[in-house]
């Protein structure tokens, strides 16, 4: 697929858009693409990225440079061609019309929630959005996402501290039916804990090393909760095709 733009949005963060197949344009929030990154130090596996937005003619991903693959991606130019497959994964359960939703994410866990936010807005729903960053330099939230509360580790953006502190605070004075969360594992664990205490339904996006992203290598397993183990008889689920979004009660993080 042809690269339409590749822009540095924040410290080490890039927004990459590319021309899209009709299949990709129908992708759902929470789904991902899997990119075959080629270049001097090409990684062997594809690299998975959540879809951050899908318009009529393009797909956007937002990524942080953390290693050889993402570095290589950051060097792509407009017009370069890139080998992308997707949309993959199940995406979020979009049955949110009735309920009051809250989106919570940290760093490059935010892109799938951004996509979810756009979908909700399209349906006339305005969710709460809590976003955490290391510092203001990493903030890549686009202007068209309003109603966001920020936190940052150093207080340079929004309130100082963890985004989960913001969550606790929010839950003091707001009723929430469904939390959608994505971000680093310690953050997710904390969110799940808070959701359980408050008996709120919680959907989390899981990141694992993906060998294929298509359900054929059986590598990307996540442990099932006792509940799901009992239901299915299976110790593990495949994150790529049975997720990457799971109901918090179904898995052991």
């Amino acid at each position: 697929m042809r690269v339409l733009s590749n822009e540095k949005n924040a410290l080490n963060i890039y927004s990459l858009t590319f021309e899209s197949t009709s299949e990709l344009l129908e992708s759902l929030p929470g789904q991902f693409v899997n990119i075959n990154v080629r270049g001097e130090d090409s990684p062997f596996f594809r690299r998975p990225f959540s879809i951050a937005s899908a318009t009529d003619d393009c797909i956007e991903i937002i990524f942080e440079v953390v290693g050889a693959g993402t570095w290589q991606l950051s060097t792509l130019h407009v017009g370069d061609s890139v080998d992308v497959i997707g949309p993959l994964g199940l995406g979020y359960d979009l049955d949110f019309t009735e309920s009051k939703s809250l989106l919570i994410g940290g760093g490059v866990g935010l892109p799938p929630l951004m996509f979810l936010y756009y979908k909700m807005k399209n349906k006339g729903i305005e969710p709460q959005f809590l976003a955490g960053f290391k510092s203001v330099s990493y903030n890549f939230m686009p202007r068209n996402i309003t109603n966001v509360h920020f936190s940052s580790d150093d207080g340079s953006l929004g309130s100082k501290g963890y985004v989960t502190d913001l969550l606790i605070e929010t839950l003091f004075h707001e009723k929430v039916d469904h939390i959608y969360a994505c971000g680093p594992e310690p953050m997710l664990s904390k969110v799940i804990e808070i959701a359980e205490e408050n008996e709120i339904r919680c959907s989390v996006s899981i990141e694992k090393v993906f060998g294929c992203g298509t359900g054929i290598c059986f590598g990307c397993i996540i442990e099932n909760s006792l509940k799901r183990l009992t239901e299915t008889g299976r110790k593990y689920s495949l994150a790529c095709v049975e997720g990457t979004v799971f109901d918090a009660g179904d898995i052991n993080l």
Binding site: N36, P43, F44, F45, R46, D83, I85, K208, V209, G211, C212, T214, G215, I216, C217, F218, G219, C220, I221, G233, R234, K235, Y236, V241
Partner: protein, 313 residues
């Protein structure tokens, strides 16, 4: 969906593999194509000459604990540990789709005792639409500690027992972690196997120096991908000169050139493994490139490549 229109080609891709006729010499390798259905919206699974299923054991298995896959520079390690739904669920949930495919279905069978293998095959014997079995002899043999595939005696014993159970196409998949693969090949041929497939993964290991831990929880894993191709080619060539039954080449194949190399070395057909993870439409691209190579060499039957390796003068 990339569909393959055979009509425009001047090359006859069909090959005979023992009692089977394959529409082309490319099979999906066991454990690298799930149960055949997963990629069907990306690639017409029918376009494969055959599908070797994930290894099936008598009971469902969760497999090893994570991390159980890891990438390396030119390949990967896996210690999946024969995770599969078990033969009962396989018959109930997976066979119907496989039956609907217009390709050869080869069920890969694994076990920890001869009884395990027999148990799986006996249940499958009554099911229609299965064209043959591939016997994975790289599983730890509980009695001896080593793999069935690591001695010609145990490999022969297992083959003999399974030959008595079925008249279907019986292919034995050899392990490369062996002193002399020809010895095993000859023993297995002697007990009536119809074909040999090789190689399974090499034993490998990776270490992450920051954490000072193995990259797999299981410490050792199976090494697959382009890095193992030279080893696989040597073994296919060696076995080709040791047995008469047809050979299916496996190991690091990711291009039409690779396919031709394996056929020149003596393979009748080949399997695509790890490449399916990286490039789910590899099959289509390889078939197209094979046409170009065959045409450039004036070859009209793909099987003409088999064993055609020339010698240096």
């Amino acid at each position: 969906m990339n569909e393959i229109s055979k009509e425009r080609w001047d090359v006859d891709f069909s090959i005979r593999l023992g009692s089977l006729i394959l529409k082309n010499p490319l099979l999906a390798a066991s454990g690298t194509y799930g149960y055949g259905r997963e990629l069907n919206n990306i690639l017409k699974t029918d376009d494969f000459g055959g599908i070797c299923t994930k290894s099936i054991t008598p009971l469902a298995r969760d497999g090893n604990e994570p991390p159980r896959i890891a990438e390396l520079k030119m390949g990967m390690l896996n210690s999946i540990g024969l995770a599969n739904v078990g033969v009962q669920a396989f018959i109930q949930d997976k066979i119907p789709f496989l039956q609907s495919l217009e390709t050869n279905i080869i069920v890969n069978v694994a076990g920890f005792s001869i009884g395990d293998y027999i148990g799986v095959i006996q249940l499958l014997e009554d099911i229609e639409g299965i064209d043959g079995y591939e016997i994975n002899i790289s599983c730890p043999n509980v009695e001896g500690g080593l793999e069935f595939g690591s001695s010609s005696k145990s490999a022969a014993k297992l083959t003999k027992a399974l030959r008595a159970e079925t008249d279907r196409f019986l292919m034995v998949k050899l392990s490369p972690n062996i002193t002399d693969i020809s010895e095993i090949a000859i023993a297995v041929e002697g007990e009536g196997a119809d074909s040999l497939s090789l190689i399974n993964t090499l034993i490998g290991m990776g270490i992450e120096i920051d954490s000072e831990k193995p990259i797999l929880k299981n410490v050792y894993g199976g090494y697959s991908g382009p890095a193992i191709k030279p080893v696989a080619l040597a073994m296919v060539h060696k076995v080709f000169h040791s047995v008469k039954i047809p050979i299916v080449g496996i190991g690091g194949i990711s291009s039409a050139e690779d396919v031709v190399q394996f056929m020149l070395a003596g393979a009748t057909a080949v399997q695509l493994g790890t490449v399916n993870f990286l490039n789910p439409t590899a099959l289509t691209e390889i078939l197209e490139d094979l046409v170009a190579i065959a045409e450039s060499k004036g070859i009209r039957n793909i099987s003409d490549f088999k064993g055609r390796l020339k010698e240096w003068d």
